[in-house]
Symmetry: C2
Subunit: 278 residues, 2 copies
């Protein structure tokens, strides 16, 4: 496994790989890898000659009061896990390497950022668009792999690729869960023991809510009651939207998503499912 | 010479070309070709195996009161000129092909659009960023050729490519002029006979202004006097800025640029030069 830490190094590797005609799968991450990331690598390996994993905690997608500084980092552990999973190249640039100057040019997620996590994280998805665009240009993958857990990010990246004609394919990979249903997340390490025991209720609430929505009921009040009574978390949102357009009043493909703030960790989860036609 | 009118057709051609290892030079145009465009083709031919010319009057870069509808179009003449100049592929999509839906995702030129033409054409450069990004993704050129005449566009595209790591090179090509100095432009056909006789004064004013600026003088008042007294046009702007950052108070590389509105044509022109260090 190779490691590139500069734009120049990844450029050289990509040029060489392209010339040899081999396909590239990209797994973009912020590091602190867990099984969710490794399932992305597995999907990428199955479909490409070579797999690049980017590890970059992107300052552009953290708000001023968010956890950029204390976002967990462990490059040694990450590179061991990546190598074992079969990653061929880690691209791990510094912030200075990715943002040598503040660009006057901006990208905006528009209405796609007015729902779900976008409401409470202003600018977050604009920062995601910027870094994803840069990574796509630097790595020039044939396919890029995103987890369904970050469903709003996935929907926005799908729009980006489609509307701006990026020459690559976005692959959605199912959320990996603990045995008790909790979605794997780098932020789970911040849960207290009690919170960790409560956290599976989020996925249970989603499952019950999806069943209710399929029967034509509004799933939100019952889900809110369950989470409020059985966890110590504070609900940030519970929303039922169309997917991937993230409009209200869904028909057909829908997403039921939630965010719950625990003491030191804000957890998100979702289910994408098909609503019965009424 | 081949012609692609759909995204699918250009995708196929580009994939085939990339697989064969040949380099691609892109000349983006809005058609109604003149010698300025053909000089871009000439530069592209000298440096690439194959040359793609895009011909697309991009609705996203015209304001509601601008000349999108009556912008001159003549595809037959354009394709003859392009073929004679040695273009290998014309990409001429419809607006529906380029914009099948209104994307919620936006690009913004930020402060780079607050000067020169950006001031009087709100949204214009945002639309340029969008179409150029799409064309770069569709054609995947090794190099793309832009004329210095549209200097603000050139500066913004250079920032775009640099800040977002597009895997290509931007080549600046000198403005092509009529014998009397008037910069070639598709919009010159809208000049009346009298206006056409006056129009070379714009370049004369730029030359005099650049000389004055090199001597440390403010070039604008004298240029304004010249244009007001010797043409029937109305000055939109005359600005001296740093290049390519387009900041005020230039030192080193500078651009002196102007826009003058005639009855049916708004003409722009500029000189890029080095200011003496003070």
């Amino acid at each position: 496994m190779q490691v590139a830490k500069t734009v120049k190094d990844i450029n050289n590797w990509v040029r060489h790989t392209k010339e040899s005609g081999r396909s590239i799968g990209l797994v973009p991450t912020m590091g602190f890898l867990h099984e969710g990331h490794l399932s992305l690598v597995e999907a990428a390996k199955a479909e490409n000659d070579l797999v690049v994993m980017s590890i970059f905690v992107n300052p552009a997608q953290f708000g001023p009061n968010e956890d950029f500084e204390r976002y967990p980092r462990d490059f040694e552990r990450d590179s061991q896990l990546a190598e074992k999973a079969g990653v061929d190249m880690i691209f791990a640039p510094s912030a200075e390497e990715m943002y040598p100057r503040e660009s006057p040019i901006t990208m905006g997620a528009g209405t796609l950022a007015n729902v779900l996590c976008g409401k409470s994280r202003p600018g977050h998805f604009d920062g995601v668009l910027k870094v994803v665009t840069k990574l796509f240009h630097l790595v020039q993958p044939d396919s890029a792999y995103f987890g369904q857990k970050d469903a709003q990010q996935l929907a926005i990246v799908e729009s980006l690729v489609q509307d701006f004609n990026f020459p690559l394919r976005i692959c959605r990979v199912d959320t990996v869960r603990e045995q008790d249903g909790l979605a794997k997340s780098s932020r789970n390490v911040y849960l207290s023991e009690t919170e960790r025991a409560e956290a599976p209720k989020l996925y249970q609430a989603l499952q019950q809510g999806a069943a209710a929505a399929r029967e034509g009921k509004d799933p939100v009040p019952e889900m809110a009651r369950l989470i409020q009574s059985e966890t110590s978390g504070t609900i940030d949102y519970i929303e039922l939207l169309s997917y991937p357009d993230l409009n209200e009043a869904p028909d057909g493909q829908a997403i039921l998503a939630l965010a719950v703030q625990f003491q030191k960790a804000r957890l998100i989860d979702n289910i994408i499912f098909t609503l019965k036609e009424n």
